[in-house]
Each structure stands twice: as C-alpha cells, then as structure tokens.
Symmetry: C2
DNA sequence: TGAATTTATGAAACCGTTTACATGGCGCTC
DNA sequence: GAGCGCCATGTAAACGGTTTCATAAATTCA
C-alpha cells in the first residue's frame, strides 16, 4: 500500500508538499502539484483515513445508533441521514439494535476516535445520565428522545397532535367507540400517540376507557393479534386507531379474515404513512410523517453543532405531521370502480 | 480527552502496560491490571480507534456499499449485515445510493484506512475493472453481482429458478397468457427473473412475446403504472408476474381500481416475500427470499476472507428461494370468511 | 549460593498523516 | 548592492496507540 512517502519520493518532493496538494493548500506551485497528482495516480495513492483523523482529530464520520425496529419507516430515516451526510462529505458509521443502556455505551465506546458526532435513535434504552456521559465527549443529536438532555439538539415527531387529529376526525365521522392499538411501552412516540388519543376523546366529551386500548409492538403481527381482542368488546368498537401503519395493516388483514369490512364495519386509521399504506385495499387513512426529512434534520442539526462546537445553542425541532384521509376510515367513498388513477407520488 | 498516557500516569505504570491490559495480554500482574482498570474508569478512558488502527492496520470495520434502492427488502439485508458484524465485533460503515462507477470509487477511496473489507451491493453501477481495482487493496464480497470477479466471494439470489417456478406454477393453474412486469434494466436479479420467466414459458411450449413484458423499476408506482399497459393487451393476460413484491402490490392496487378482481380476473405473483405480502388482500403469492440471510452470508464470507487473507479461496454462494403460494394467484380459495388465522411468523 | 530461567514491566521505534516552523531563493526597494 | 519580504518547499514534531526488545526482580535449580 503506497504511503505519502512513496508519493513524495516518486514526485521528487517532500511529504509536506504531497499533503498540501491533497488538502487543497494553494501555496504550492502548479507544476509541482501536477507532478504530485501524477505520482499519486500512478501509485493509486489516497491518504489513509485513520492516520488523517489521528492528526486532525476529525474523522468526517457520523455515528448513527438505531433501535431494534426496522422496516419501511426506519429505512427512510436512514436514507435521509445517509444522503445528507454524504452530500456534506461525511461518512456514516451505523450500529443497530441496542437493547440496553450497557449496549449503547459499548457501541459508542467502540466508535471512539472514529466519529465526530453521534445521531441517536434508541429511545427506550437510554437514560439521561448515559446520554449526558456520551455528550461530554461528543456532540449528540437525538431523534424522538423521551427526555431533554443538556447540550443535545433533538428532532421529534408531532405524535401527540397527530393522534389527536385522528381521533377528532373519527369523531367527526360519527364514531364514539374508538379503540386503539398502542405501540410498545417505553417508546416515546407510542406513548405520545396514546396520550393524543386520550386527549382527543376527552375533548369530545368521551371518557377514555382502558379496555379499548390493546398493547402492540409496532409490528404487523401484533396488529393482527389485536383484532381478536378488540372484536370481543361489547359494544364492539366502530373504529380502531393503530399507533403505526404496520399494525394497522395487520389489523385490517385480521378484520378481513374475520369477515368484517373496512371501513363499513370497522374504520381503521394508522400512523406514519409508509409507502404501502396507499396501496392497501381500502387505502389506509393515516398520519403522514416525513421520515426522510426526520433523518435529514437530525444530520443538519449535527452539522450545525459541528461547525460551531463552542456554541451552546441547542435546537429542539418537531416534524409536523399531516392527516392523510383515504378510504379506510370511511370518510369518502372508495375510488370509483373502473378508473385508473395515479397513486400519490412520493418525493425522493 | 484522556489518552493512554494519562491512564499510565494515574495508575503509576507505563503506557505499554496499559496497552497490554486493554488488549487482554495475560502477562500482566493481576493487581497492576486492577489499578489500570480503576484509572481508566476514573478518566473514562477507552483506546482511540483511529490510533489503534493506524498501528495495527486493522479497523474492525466493514464497509458496505448500497444501491439507490430502499424499502423493506434492503433494510432486511442491512439488518442481516449489521447484526452479524456486530456479533463478531465489527462495525459497519455504510454508504448508500451510488449512481456511477466514479461514485463507487470515490466512496471506497474515502473509506481507505478505515475499513478491513468491503461488502458491495451496487450491481448496476460497477464494472469488472473497477471492482478488480478495489480488490487489489481490500477484500471484497459482492451481493448479487452481474459478473464474477477474480478473488471476490459473492452471494446471489436464485432469481432465475424462482421465476421459472412461478411461471410453471401459473401454467399448472391453467394460465397461458402470462405477462410480466420486469425490473430495471441492468439489474442482475431483474434480468435473471425475466430470463426465468421466458424459460418457464418455453418449457411449457409457449413462445414468450415481448409485448407481454412491461418495464418497471422495482417501485410500487411502476407496478401501478404497468397495469394500464397490460390491460390494453388483447387477449388480456390472465396472470401477471411482477419481478418484485412492491411492483406486484402497486399492480394489484391498480387492478382493483380498474374494477378487476385478483385472482379471479387476473392472477398476480410477486417476488421477495416482503413482510407486507402476506397482509395484502388477497395475500400475495410470491417467491420467498431470505434477505436477512443474504446479508448475513455476505458478512460471513467476508469474515472468512479476513481470517485467512492469504487463501485464494473464493466462494460463490446462492440463496435458495421458495415459492410461497397464497391466494393472489388463485391456487387455493381465499381464507374462509370468519376464521381468524394467525399470520405466518417471521423469524427474527 | 550462584547461575539459569521466568515473569512483569518499561523504553523506544513505528504506523501515516498534518502542520508549525525553518530555510533558501528570488524580486523589490532604497 | 544590502536589506527586506514573500513564496515555495522542506524538516521535524506531534497525534495516540501497539509491539519489539531490553531489563530488573523473582523464582527455580543444581
């Protein structure tokens, strides 16, 4: 493997000059630079990243910590992170599925010296003190954090208001017995959606009842399983709000198998607006969350922090959500039978 | 930031001893080791990764190059990669969406000195020579490569045989006018599936016709769009094979909007068996591909190569696929109306 | 008891860069 | 033509570790 010394020797200059050429230092003669480029290209040389970050104490790499969840939503978040990072000449060191606090600390330790900042999306398995500890050595940006941490910018989803809007919409359609398939306990967004659901009911003068809430885990199968429990309730709920689309889809599948028609017998609403939602039969009413933007904003906040490390400025952002009314809630008739209408386009 | 010297000073030993402690060298006195641990913990010290890889010329990091595609399938592949890597104490440096050869080379250059090996899944934007060039400095494992490269292990999907099985199955059900929504040109798996489709037809004595093949791009919207083209054909196809599930789902949505019933009017089959497939109405017949295993095997091959760099051994693996018959192809009646049957569980 | 061996530790070289500082040559100015 | 400043380049010291080799102390053995 060619090193800077090999290039220097080949080009007949010192290693300092080679370094200057590769770092765009203008104080180097044009002809000399050309020679260096030629030598480098002949030797297929490129500066060694580890050595570089050792001297500069910058790695141009962002660490990303993910929770155990996967699927469409998360892959969009990652895409947002990766693309903006790439555009800004940063690399992405990813580490997924962290179950415990210990796990998270181990992962960040292993990243030590390799990253300039850390984007964390591990909501349920962190504590204020563990994040604070990481923050002491590294800039940290949190996605959907369950708490605020001194010195950490963060970006959250407007889960509460989205859920409230869902319930208000269902109530506007005449529903009174509205059930919910909740997300995993400990997950902030799951809890905010549950809170929004309850608030929405209260605002309509309806007392939320615990027996109308079924616990899920954000996966299709738990939505599917929830159906059985909900169909036992008397009076039977006329509408179900699932804390995310995956569960809503599992739920709809189970309802169909049980011979119930959506939305005629039961209205269903989800959350996230994953790609699949619009292709369901009936198309799923849901709350649109721009997952790509979520990832992008997190990186943007990180870059801000990195560009001015002294600044104590902390930004707390919230991604707005939009209720996306389709047919699964019964708000409007299913699309006329023989028209081929184009699906909603998705920005890339 | 505490360095090894700080720890050495605090513990009253030399830096060599500290290093030995952190590298599990047994030749260090137990009491001394304890002192070192205490000092390290007091200073919140952990070895700097960049410095470490500079001396050892190992980074314990795997580079991962992804294509521009995202969604459920790819996120499963990444999960497989990340989890096995993590278990084997490797980190994952990810870089997505590489459009051109130049792009790929730039990305790998930026990783220089930071990774021990490269897992590439960028099928359409690479050439033999560019990979060969990368291979000269780094172990490379390819996922679904369009060609073999000297010295590179690879793992592929049995796309050809899967597609052939789909067609055979449809023919067994009595279909003769079988159309296909193909994947993006240049993508190996797309092309293999197309080839398998044609072969399947030929084996049944049916001459494949180009007008029954519509070009797609693996996304839902292109499946949706394909419906319009296919419904114009006379005689109208009685079955459509989509090169992946996303397109099949888009297609089914469009067929529904056009007033056609699946599978009664048109049978539909997909490929990949993404999570969503079984929750569709009707549940989608498809070819199961274990994306998680695909990612895992790629990492396994990489670890093999890394553990014995001298060995010239190259392994070329293929992930087997299984035809997953559900209702969308009309092979068996839709699930009885009022039974709640549990969805197929998915291994995690 | 002294030589040989083992064990625990330290000193110093090295990994491949960047960068502060030194240096030498050249063109100006007075 | 001496003095000055500037420009292009080189020298050498970091950066934070690992590892080879040397060494002192402790143990073994005759």
């Amino acid at each position: 493997m060619a090193t800077i010394r090999d290039v220097a020797k080949t080009a007949g200059v010192s290693i300092a000059t080679v370094s200057r050429v590769f770092n765009g230092n203008t104080a180097v003669n044009e002809d000399t630079a050309l020679q260096v480029w030629a030598a480098a290209s002949a030797l297929d040389y490129w500066p060694n990243g580890a050595a570089r970050s050792l001297t500069t104490s910058r790695s141009n790499t962002l660490g990303v910590l993910l929770p155990d969840l996967f699927g469409d939503f998360f892959s969009e978040v990652i895409r947002g992170i990766d693309q903006l990072a790439k555009r800004e000449k940063y690399q992405t060191l990813i580490s997924g599925s962290h179950a415990s606090v210990e796990d998270v600390l181990t992962a960040t330790r292993a990243m030590r010296g390799r990253i300039d900042g850390l984007v964390m999306m591990a909501p349920d398995s962190i504590t204020v003190e563990s994040v604070t500890r990481i923050r002491r050595r590294l800039p940290v940006v949190l996605i959907s954090p369950p708490f605020a941490v001194d010195g950490c910018s963060s970006v959250s989803i407007a889960s509460f208001s989205g859920a409230r809007a869902v319930v208000a919409h269902l109530i506007g359609l005449g529903h009174r017995e509205i059930a919910m398939v909740a997300g995993p306990a400990g997950n902030v967004d799951a809890e905010e959606r549950l809170r929004g659901y309850r608030r929405g009911l209260k605002e309509a003068g309806i007392q939320p009842r615990d027996e109308l809430v079924v616990q899920g885990d954000f996966r299709e199968s738990s939505g599917y399983a929830a159906a059985a429990a909900l169909l036992d309730r008397r009076p039977r709920p006329t509408a179900v709000f699932a804390a995310n689309d995956c569960m809503a889809i599992g739920l709809m599948s189970a309802l169909g198998n049980a011979g119930l028609s959506v939305p005629h017998d039961v209205a269903v609403v989800g959350f996230d607006n994953i790609t699949m939602a619009q292709y369901m039969r009936p198309p799923l009413t849901t709350v649109h969350v721009d997952a790509y933007a979520l990832g992008q904003k997190a990186v943007r906040l990180m870059l801000d922090t990195l560009s001015d490390p002294e600044s104590e400025k902390v930004t707390v952002q919230t991604i707005d959500v939009i209720l996306k009314v389709r047919s699964s809630c019964g708000a409007r008739p299913a699309v006329a039978a023989n028209t081929l209408n184009v699906p909603e386009s998705k920005q890339l």
